[in-house]
Amino acid sequence: MRVATDVGGTFTDLVYVKENGEVGFAKSSTTPPRFEEGVLNVLKESQISLEEIETFIHGTTVIINALTERKGVKTGLITTKGFRDVLEIARGNRPDLFNVRYQKPVPIVPRYLRKEVEERLNYKGEIVTQLDKEQLKEIITEFKNEELEAVAIAFLHSYRNPVHEKEAVEMVKELWPEVSITASYEMTKEWREYERTNTVVMNSYVKPIASSYINRLEEKLADKDVTAKKYIMQSNGGTTTFSLAKEAPINMVESGPVAGVFGSAILGEIIGEKNLIAFDVGGTTAKCSLIENGQVKITTDYHIERTEKWAGYPLKVPVVDIVEIGNGGGSIAWLDPAGSLRVGPHSAGAVPGPVAYGQGGEEPTITDANLITGRLSPKNFTYPVDLQKVKEVMEGKIANHFDLKVEEAALGIIRLANSNMLNALKLISVRKGYDPRDFTMVAFGGGGPLHATFLAKELGIRRVVIPVASAVFSAWGMLMTDLRQDFIKTYVKLLDGTNLDEMNIEWSHLEEQAIKQYVQEGMEETNIIFSKYADMRYVGQEHTVKVPIPNENWSPEMIQQIIASFHTLHEKTYTFQLPETQVEVVNLHLTAFGRVNKPEIKKIKETTEKHAPLKEIRNVFYEETGWVKTNVYSRNELAPGMKISGPSVIEDLMSSILLYPTQELEIDSYGNLLIYNRGMENAKYEN
């Protein structure tokens, strides 16, 4: 049996799949700060027998929480002489252009714990000044006196040659074996010293915390006789072993959200669809990511806490490319000084939550708007809903201002939220040169299914899939992952006339590194699969395009082929190509998957009943037609073979789906809900 547990902000989710393909879920409260308790609770809740677990996969917010709450350990930084302030100077940008009181991100390591040592390489990686070991010794002594728990090392040009960083690490380990130490080259081999320094600093800052969390979890599981192989979900959409996760915990920052995207890719494989848009709406945000030809997109241009108005902190680690906006179920609707309606990014959160929760919320939210328009049922909330109160708040705060009826105001909020979400979806599709009509949308999270139908209609998306486990879909995604490591190295070379042997040697170094790491972790070499990419650009440009590279040795013919696909991709992304301009490689990117065996998901028996049992008829307020008496169905009563036509609502305790008059819904043989727009070509697919 494979089991995945996903620790979220409010709930800890569990999904399992048995050898016979049977899938089950459980949910339990998250238990900060002892998150491992919640994991044990949800295991108990699921009633699975623990000794049958063969593989245990875990996703957690422990790392991102420690970072955003600044609850890491006391950390020191050692840099090249003359560069200790790089971490504080950062990039000097001011995204909030007209704010003359802009405050830069505060460096994680204060100035007095940033020390400089004599050493220097040039840009070619050649040693200009030897590492001064005496100075290094003095620094270690000072750091000991400061009672640090972790040390980070970041030297210039170590992406090109880590020799001095390696020497320094060895010396620290020798003189001070107890301290947690990380060098920047171990985190990333890309250039840009500020980004690399911040990455290693943040990794050091949370490393002891990750270790103790993972150790505690391991002990608890051992106590319960869980002998499974244990893995942790990473931000790159793959898993890694507990021991590697303890070394590079920074790779776990986005483990939850990316699992949903990865799950979408896997679901696509099962239902035979390779081009997908993953769409996830939670309590405070909506997230989306585009999957092309089955491939989840990875970026290293990732920042924590970055907003339109704040620079945030860069982490040069591979993360699934996700666009996130501050519109979720709990997002608050408000009026700006000019009297315009705005939605988000402030959220009522879980406490007090929307007005509908009856927990003291006094600001109208998207959830309240969905309730007033009949898209959500008051019966599906945990606590009794005072609908009158919800309407009063909507009236007082929004409707009266525009001199509108309460349901019109509520619909306005929904339309605005949908418009914001639409812009996010366009950002990952139309604006990157993709036609949404070629894609299927996978909608999940509490609010994804409710908003997806409208958005799909607007974008001309052919199909929407609401996965069977839509409310715990991140955990479902984790269940289906393989091991994955990304190795990225800055290697700047013109493609014309490049030395093929050197290039192939660089690739084989990366491959050897990957194989070594996996074999150490007990993976058979035959189960290791490589994918290759090169980040490429026109000479003189800064920004790169990620080009898939065939998995074989480079030859002159292949170079021509790679250049051709670069031109095509560049045009797709940026609307033009420059056929006369030289092309260069900036980074080599090797993805190494460690394939693991996974049970096949079992199909559910088809019913002969073509009509779903009607739950109730309810008034629902639609954009075009106003109030419509709408059939409501219970999601739990649906079975493969049934069909439902819009207008209608399909709901359960966790989410609700709104079908428009032009839409139809089917249930596939896995229990996924498939929605398509009537009249659109190729709208159906065989399963």
Partner: protein
């Protein structure tokens, strides 16, 4: 325009879509450019205006461009009137008429037609690395007339009804030093204009032309409402400031400048009359630049989190003498126009900081602190050209210390060039990139430190052109906070001789092993230094932002040299604290 009632939410949705278009245009230009000045410094702006040239939405990289697009479009409308056709693209960089900044900033304007009616303009402006002129990189700090500063595009058609004016392109090709760069930037600009056109037309098709046009009107009106409501909350009165611009680059100066800001219930008037007339060197700016820089400060006061369009600026009035340093006339040189332009904005800032201390902190290092360094790469032997602004120190606010190492107000979403990239690309080694923690700008809240960036030349025959304003007249502190420190540079020659400090210098020669040490100043402080809590002073010392000596002399906090343990307070601080208590 027909005034049909459109529901308020559709207006909001179209408004959001327009903002998204502005961002997409901006993104497209940045991602397709080949010039570091564009993709790293983001020295460009993109946007849409209505059919009259009023700005609807703008994608910004630098604050200094706010408002310049409208002037370009208005000049286009004035010149061509009914002679604009679908597919036309106009090119303009005329500093005095519509272009507004210096010749390096080349603007393109494209009329957008829907069903044969002119409905909007797509426009952008970008700093080309080369537009010809007397010096590599075109802009320089010792030009004496505009003809030395590069090619002038006086609002002419680059495309006529979709057909490229090849003759014009050939002229550009023949007159600039790096035609491939300049022309590729031109194409990046065209790609961005076309995205703007495409998206605007999509909106017209989806929501109807009337709805879109009514939204644009609504958008401008809303901007005005917000500005006026905030102006009403400001205390009415006349507020004054004066300051000096160090030099014009030719050895003349300093030049006195001044402003009177008058705030009434409805209006915000900045009167710069009486400031120095235009000067022989290239630090003059046009009226357009002055407007942009004052708008930036105006937005810092009025606009917390709002959509920016020309409606926002309706209550703002700016007056200056013709032919002044803030409103120069042909053929005054304008290369480093931002030096006077930023000073114009800073005067308004300085006049109002004591009135609105919650919005306006003390003065910052102000100057773009532009550095141009040219020479040959030691390995490739190819010529290289660094063109970059510098980071510096910002002023302290009434409840916060100043930012350390940040680009000046005229820049914005601008990024420094990473040392590792600079060393690979250019013929230099960076010896040091650190904070200039000189302890100046003292106060209850201290001014932020500037930075030190040292370039060691790796080949002979390099030349540095440095334009550091506020070298003599330093950033101002207020409410008993101290002034900051000057921007300056030194050359540390290989033979041990140190030359400097200098502020503005054209083509300083550097040979292999010489080090160009660039040092920017600290921002001004806020509040009396004795009011700074002891714990903060101890932390400042520990972090080496100030010395033990400064802690004692400036802050009145006496610390042990070795352990930084608190030894006591100076008698001056004690006396000051007692006086405060008495006053309370």
């Amino acid at each position: 325009m027909q005034n049909t009632k459109i529901d308020p939410f559709t207006l909001e949705i179209v408004k959001d879509s327009l903002t998204a278009v502005g961002e997409e245009m901006f993104y497209t230009l940045g991602r397709t450019s080949m010039s570091p000045i564009i993709y790293e410094v983001l020295d460009y702006a993109t946007g849409l205006t209505d059919a009259k040239g009023d700005l609807l939405t703008q994608g910004n990289g630098v604050a200094g461009f706010i408002g310049m697009l409208s002037f370009m479009v208005k000049e286009t409308v004035k010149k061509f009137q009914d002679d604009l056709k679908p597919g036309d693209i106009i090119i303009i960089n005329d500093s005095y008429n519509g272009g507004g900044s210096h010749l390096s900033d080349v603007g393109l304007v494209m009329p957008i037609f829907y069903e044969e009616e002119l409905v909007a303009f797509s426009a952008n402006k970008a700093h080309w690395t080369e537009v010809g002129g007397k010096d590599p990189g075109s802009f320089t700090n010792d030009a004496t007339e505009i003809y030395q500063e590069g090619l002038q595009f006086p609002c002419v058609k680059l495309f006529e009804e979709g057909k490229l004016n090849q003759a014009l392109v050939d002229i550009i090709q023949a007159n600039v030093r790096l035609p491939e760069l300049s022309l590729s930037d031109m194409w990046a600009q065209i790609a961005s204009l076309r995205i703007g056109e495409r998206r605007f037309l999509e909106l017209c098709r989806k929501y109807g032309k009337e709805t879109v046009l009514q939204t644009t009107k609504h958008l401008l009106d809303q901007g005005e409402i917000i500005s006026r409501s905030i102006i009403q909350s400001l205390p009415n009165g006349d507020y004054y400031a004066e300051d000096y611009i160090d030099t014009d680059g030719l050895g003349n100066g300093p030049f006195q400048v001044q402003v009177k800001v008058t705030i009434t219930d409805d209006n915000f008037v900045c009167d710069f009359r009486g400031s120095h007339p235009q000067v022989p060197g290239p630090i003059n700016c046009s009226y357009t630049t002055l407007v942009s820089d004052v708008r930036t400060v105006f937005l810092a006061i009025t606009n917390d989190d709002q959509h920016i369009n020309d409606g926002v600026f309706r209550p703002l009035e700016i007056i200056t003498d013709p032919g002044s340093i803030f409103s120069a006339e042909r053929p005054a040189p304008m290369s480093v126009y931002w030096e006077s332009g930023s000073m114009g904005g800073d005067l308004v800032w300085k006049a109002l900081a004591p009135v609105i201390p919650s919005k306006l902190p003390a003065g910052h290092f102000l100057s773009v602190c532009a550095v141009t360094l040219s020479g040959n790469h030691p390995d490739t032997k190819n010529p290289f050209l660094i063109v970059e602004p510098s980071l510096g120190g910002w002023g302290a606010g009434n409840d916060q210390d100043g930012a350390r190492g940040q680009f000046c107000i005229g820049d914005g979403e601008t990024y420094n060039v990473p040392v590792e990239i600079a060393e690979a690309r250019y013929g230099v080694m960076v010896d040091e990139y650190s904070l200039n923690a000189d302890g100046e700008g003292a106060g209850e809240f201290i001014g932020g430190a500037g930075v030190i960036r040292s370039y060691q030349a790796l080949t002979d025959g390099q030349f540095a052109t440095v334009t550091f304003g506020r070298h003599k007249y330093v950033p101002w502190g207020f409410n008993e906070g101290k002034d900051g420190s000057p921007n300056q540079f030194y050359v540390m020659k290989k033979n041990g001789v140190v030359d400097g400090p200098y502020g503005v210098y054209a083509r300083y020669p550097l040979n292999k092993g010489d080090v160009l040490k660039l040092v920017t100043g600290s921002g001004g402080g806020y509040g009396h230094p004795f009011a700074r809590p002891i714990t903060k002073v101890v932390e400042d010392v520990k972090n080496e932002y100030i010395t033990v000596h400064q802690a004692k002399e400036v802050y009145g906090v006496v610390l042990d040299e070795g352990t930084y343990d608190l030894m006591g307070l100076s008698s001056a601080r004690k006396e000051w604290e007692e006086n405060i208590e008495k006053r309370i």
